[in-house]
Amino acid sequence: MLAALALAARSRRLRETRRTLWRVAPVVSAISLAAAVVVRWRHAPALIPLGLLAAAAVVWVLYAFVQRRRVRVSDATASAIDEEAGLAGELRSAAWFASRDVADSWTGLHLSRAADRLESLDLSHLYPALRARRARVATFVMAAIAVLLVTPLPGRPQAVAPPPNAQSAPPPRAVQPIALEGVPAELPQELEALLTAIENGTFAARQPEADAAFQAMLAQIHALNDPRALTALVRAMADRDQADDSDASRKALADRVKRDAALTPPSEIRDALEALSKKLSDSERDTDSAGLEKSDDAQPDQGVDLAGTPPESARDASAIASLGMVTLSSQAPADPNAPPGVGVGGSSSSPGNAGTMADIAKTLRHEIIEANEDDVSGNVQTDARRKTERGSATTTFTRSAAASFDGTHASAPPPVPEARRARTQTYFSRKQ
């Protein structure tokens, strides 16, 4: 009885397994095909669709193997077979008694009858083999197409179509080699190629981490600390129209490197680009400072030319001016006989005065640099922010307990005058 029931349960389980597998297989194949199309389109590694197909095949085999093993027939399974075979509950009841090993003439009769009915069942008719022809064809066709899409075939021109932005994107610009000791001459060209690849969107397909030469280039970028090397790099990678303006070239390169780093997913490359951008920005500030000092030295009596400050510092002109005034006010007492100069400090050429133009320029430089890094929403506190954030407001909320009514202080309402009493009494009465 139990053996026949287990056989029926196995047939049913296999049919359910096949049904499930052939319901899922076309879906998995379709997903693999879609992945293959995307891979071919986006230059992604072919491992994705092939791995998906391989994993699905492994799961398929494992699931089929697990479902083929012999398991104890549960009451739910016996009930399902009973219902599908139209045995009116006999199989379910018999399965329970058979599993309990009850020795009783009534149970014996029940089990023998159930076994006879179960053996008379044609399991191949009850659980016919599932053909699923359309599912099979669809699965195999889609899987084959997926494999063909990602398989490089000999003689096939450019198996992977270039992305649309890559077709319209310009090739890497020709840059000049660096003729500086300790810095590879081809570094500008390699850096330009990397930046162009990032900007064109073809960067991911190259798998740069696997390239030893590429790793070497990243190491060289990290090793670029010498200002001269940075200047040479900027000069080598500068546009022709900006070749004369080293500051503009440096800033443009720094901005470009920073922007491309942002386009790159977090990786070693992104770190290298961010580091390079920071170095370029820092060297740019140093250059600005040096320029200011040079101008001070060259024109000691002309004061600071605010109009000549870098454009990014112009937005903080008011801050600079106010800070400069504060600095000036802290200088040594002015000499009324001093020649005209900037502010009350007098001329920096006066040897007796501590507030020389160099000091003022130096102070202003620091303020310019600090003001350039200020952000109103970040590290700058305005008066309004201070008032609110420090909680110095004096307005507070008070809370008073509910007062109880004291009836002893209540007074009776004034009596209604006699003349109005009748009208008052009939005021709310409906007029007929």
């Binding site: 009930s79 003439s105 029940h110 159930a114």
Partner: protein, 330 residues
């Protein structure tokens, strides 16, 4: 007992059951389900409450069944002035031949195998309660003496659901002692034709006595021998528990309208009725459908509605139907 003997006893049971219902059907038309339920109650050792409008054949059914069984039959017409002693009997004073007196117990009409309690809800609760001991313990106590009743003992009570003036609804304890509550509905057009054919002509409507007391007792024993698997019994238990408002198996209707659910007697009735139905199908096992078929007559009178249910005129049949439809079979 061998397997062959079991098979023979099943066939014999089916044959007797069929003969009883056939004999009843010679006089009663169109109430096959009620006849089956009544005979099932008899074979399960329970009692039946028949409810129906006047004239649909409740009393005739009981009379016919008593005629078909070779059993002692008595009828008690319940009225408001009926006293318990009128049912169970009383001690009367007798004179001895040599002088002196003594008390002698005069048995009431309850001392029979088949008792028809006609219009049982017209008697006072005190009189109705006189049946409690007889129905449960198959004995009656008068004074300090308990008198056993003869087996098989079957009380078949009838009540009229529409004439409620001057009636006393049966208390829950009394209702719970009825194995089945069967509703005798108005006959169909075809059945009405058949009734007219049989009753307005000179036709021999004599009912033969087909089964006697020992045979009924044997059938009771056979019915109780049918094995029932635990999952099927679990279904009967869930059905019973589901009629209680706080049960996890309770349906929305039960939760909203039921005050008290069915007692364990309901589960006993479900299983016993299921066993008898299984043998009638010729099977030696109880199926879910066997339990399901007994749910309505076994549960409908054991569910007590709350005020909201009474106010909304909810029928307990609706509640049982929902219960049967929603309680899981696994």
């Amino acid at each position: 007992m061998t397997v062959t003997a079991v098979a023979q006893s099943i066939d014999q049971f089916r044959d007797r059951f069929h003969r009883i219902t056939q004999e009843v059907a010679r006089r009663i038309v169109g109430h096959d389900e009620v006849v089956d339920g009544t005979v099932t109650s008899l074979l399960a050792g329970g009692h039946v409450l028949l409810e129906g409008i006047p004239g649909v054949g409740k009393t005739s059914l009981v009379h016919t069944l008593a005629d078909a069984l070779h059993l002692k039959f008595s009828r008690i017409q319940f009225t408001p002035d009926l006293m318990p002693a009128d049912i169970v009997g009383t001690n009367i004073v007798q004179e001895q031949s040599h002088g002196g007196t003594f008390f002698e117990f005069q048995p009431g009409p309850i001392f029979a195998n088949v008792v028809l309690a006609d219009e049982i809800n017209r008697a006072t609760p005190k009189t109705q309660s006189a049946l409690l001991e007889a129905m449960q313990d198959v004995s009656v106590s008068v004074g300090t003496t308990t008198y056993p009743l003869e087996q098989p003992f079957l009380v078949m009570a009838t009540q009229n659901p529409i004439e409620m003036e001057g009636t006393y609804p049966l208390p829950e304890a009394q209702l719970d002692r009825f194995f089945f509550k069967l509703k005798v509905t108005y006959p169909s057009e075809e059945a009405l034709h058949e009734i007219l054919e049989r009753t307005t002509r000179e036709v021999d409507r004599t009912v033969t006595r087909v089964v006697d007391g020992p045979q009924i007792m044997e059938m009771r024993r056979v019915a109780r021998s049918v094995p029932i698997a635990r999952p099927v019994q679990g279904y009967a238990v869930r059905l019973t528990l589901g009629s209680h408002p706080g049960s996890p198996y309770a349906t929305p209707l039960v939760t909203r309208y039921v005050r008290y659910g069915a007692s364990p007697r309901a589960a006993q009735a479900l299983v016993l009725a299921g066993k008898i139905r299984a043998i009638n199908r010729g099977q030696a096992f109880v199926s879910i459908d066997d339990i399901r078929s007994a749910a309505l007559p076994a549960l409908r009178h054991r569910i007590l509605l709350n005020f909201e249910g009474e106010a909304d005129e909810i029928n307990t049949d609706t509640i049982v139907d929902e219960l049967v439809a929603s309680v899981a079979t696994e």
